[in-house]
Every structure is written in C-alpha cells, then in structure tokens.
Symmetry: C2
Subunit: 140 residues, 2 copies
DNA sequence: TATTGTTATACTCTATAACTATA
DNA sequence: TATAGTTATAGAGTATAACAATA
C-alpha cells in the first residue's frame, strides 16, 4: 500500500512543521505549548487523576508530573489526594487557571486564526473534519 | 470569528498530539523525527545551502547546524563549501543517506500507515487534501 | 505483590547571543 | 559593513530507571 505510506509520510511532515511553527508563536511569558495542552484537558475533563491525564496527553507519567509541578507553582491547578484511593492524585483547574487559559489561548491562537481566515469556508470545513480523524488516529 | 478560533485550538491540539505520538514510534537506533525531516528535504531538494534548509524547515540556523553535524557524523550527508561564495555551505545526501532514509521512513511510518489503513478511502482522501492545506498554513 | 505517582538523570530539540570567515 | 554559518549556552520537552506510598 504505497499510497497509504506516502500519505503517512506527508502527514507526519505536515504535523511536525505545524507544531514547530506554533511553538514559535509563544507570547512573552506565556504558557508553553505543553502546559497549554495539559491545562486545556484539565479544564475540559477535570477533575481527573495524573495517570489519566498522562494517557490523555499521550506522555509518560514523569512528563506529566513535571508539567503539573509548574502549573501548580503558578496557582493554575490544584492537586489533592483522592480519599477513596490515596495513591491517586486528583487534578483540577483553579479560577486563576481558567482565566489564564482563556487569555493564553487567544494570544497563542492569534497567528493560526489569521492563517485560517485566509482559507475558504469549504477549506476550513475540510480541516475541521480532518482534525476529528487525526484525533482518532493519535488516540490508538 | 469564534468559529475560526475554535478550529485553530483544535488543530493545534491535534497536531501536537499526533507529533508526540509519532515521536514515540522511533525505532531502536533510528533517526529522530527532526533528522528524518531534514534528510528528506535534502534528498528531495538538495544540494542546497544550510540557510535554505533552515528556512525550508522553519528553524533558526543554529538548529540546522546541529542536525547537520549529526547527519554528517553518520555519513548520511556531505557538506562542501560553495566555490562561488565561500560563505555558503552546500549540503547533499550520500548514497548511505538515501538508503538510510528509505529504511527509516518505512520503519517510522509503519505505525501511522497501519492506522491510516483502518480509514475509508474517502477519509484518506480528506486527510490528503488537508495535508496540502496545513503545509500552506505552516509556510507563511 | 501490583499500582500510582515522584525523583533522579539523560537525551532531543530549539532558541538567543557572540563569534569567525567571507563578501 | 553585511551575510552565512558555527560555537556556547540555556530552556523546553520527553523518556527510562529507581524509589516511596498505598492498595
């Protein structure tokens, strides 16, 4: 299936380049891409355990511990031990975290939104549908 | 344009997650994503200068120097001073580099190709067209 | 014993600033 | 002086291995 392999190669390169481009768009003193991504999951799906967050973010537990330590130090999330199973650490976003998430997402996304604005509505719809597909692929 | 902002956020998260997932698929002793990406450009568009490669890869010159030093150390590319302008360094892929590129791409892509194989031909076509769009966005 | 999370450590990726060589 | 590339250095992101606490 050479046709599928070619698509795989192109998709990999495109994702890599877009991520690189987005990483450059970090506003002064803003949250990093990784922090923003984790905080968005905590906001949308929290409270959740550190382990669940690691699975959701497709990284290993030590990587999540690191991100959480930073987010907590800035008061953006709260970590608390689960009373039912004291091995679990439950994470939830704070009001400060929600406000920060909203502000940083806007700043961070400004560049990409401007780019998307140059596309036709049909092209944006195409992208919207492919985002759903990519999420499905990355989940496996 | 809240609709465009939402798409921007979703696209950012999807690209980030897919890149992370692909990074995990690195075969033992295989080239990294960054090395592979650079080598593919050199193969497709070489010989080219180090500066052109940096622009093409959307990174700063020092980042490219680092990647090139590694690729050269493994005998995958050749660096030579341009006789016309001795400030320029021309990069080209070696036969060993071409062979290595092909082998590593196959190993690296195996996981993604398997995932893509579970999609319908229509869905793959959708992805193919969106890859072209993403490339256009990231180029700006 | 198995599971959850953390700490210690190391490697990859990228950038900014300072430098060298060439134009 | 300006440009191309490199070196030095630092910060972000991630992993594996070893550990502590809890089940």
């Amino acid at each position: 299936m050479p046709e599928v392999a070619a698509l795989a190669a192109d998709l990999r390169l495109a994702a890599h380049r877009l991520t690189r481009r987005l990483r450059q768009q970090r506003p002064q003193d803003g949250l990093t891409l990784t922090q923003l991504s984790a905080l968005a999951v905590i906001w949308r799906e929290g409270p959740l355990t550190a382990g669940d967050l690691a699975v959701r973010e497709q990284v290993k537990p030590p990587s999540i511990t690191r991100v959480l330590a930073l987010l907590q130090a800035e008061g953006l999330v709260k970590r608390s031990v689960d009373a039912d199973d004291r091995r679990h650490v439950l994470i939830q976003i704070t009001p400060v975290g929600s406000a920060r998430l909203e502000a940083d997402v806007q700043a961070r996304e400004a560049w990409l939104a401007r780019q998307l604005d140059t596309l036709t509505p049909q092209e944006r719809d195409l992208l919207r549908r492919s985002v759903a597909l990519i999420d499905r692929l990355a989940e496996q």
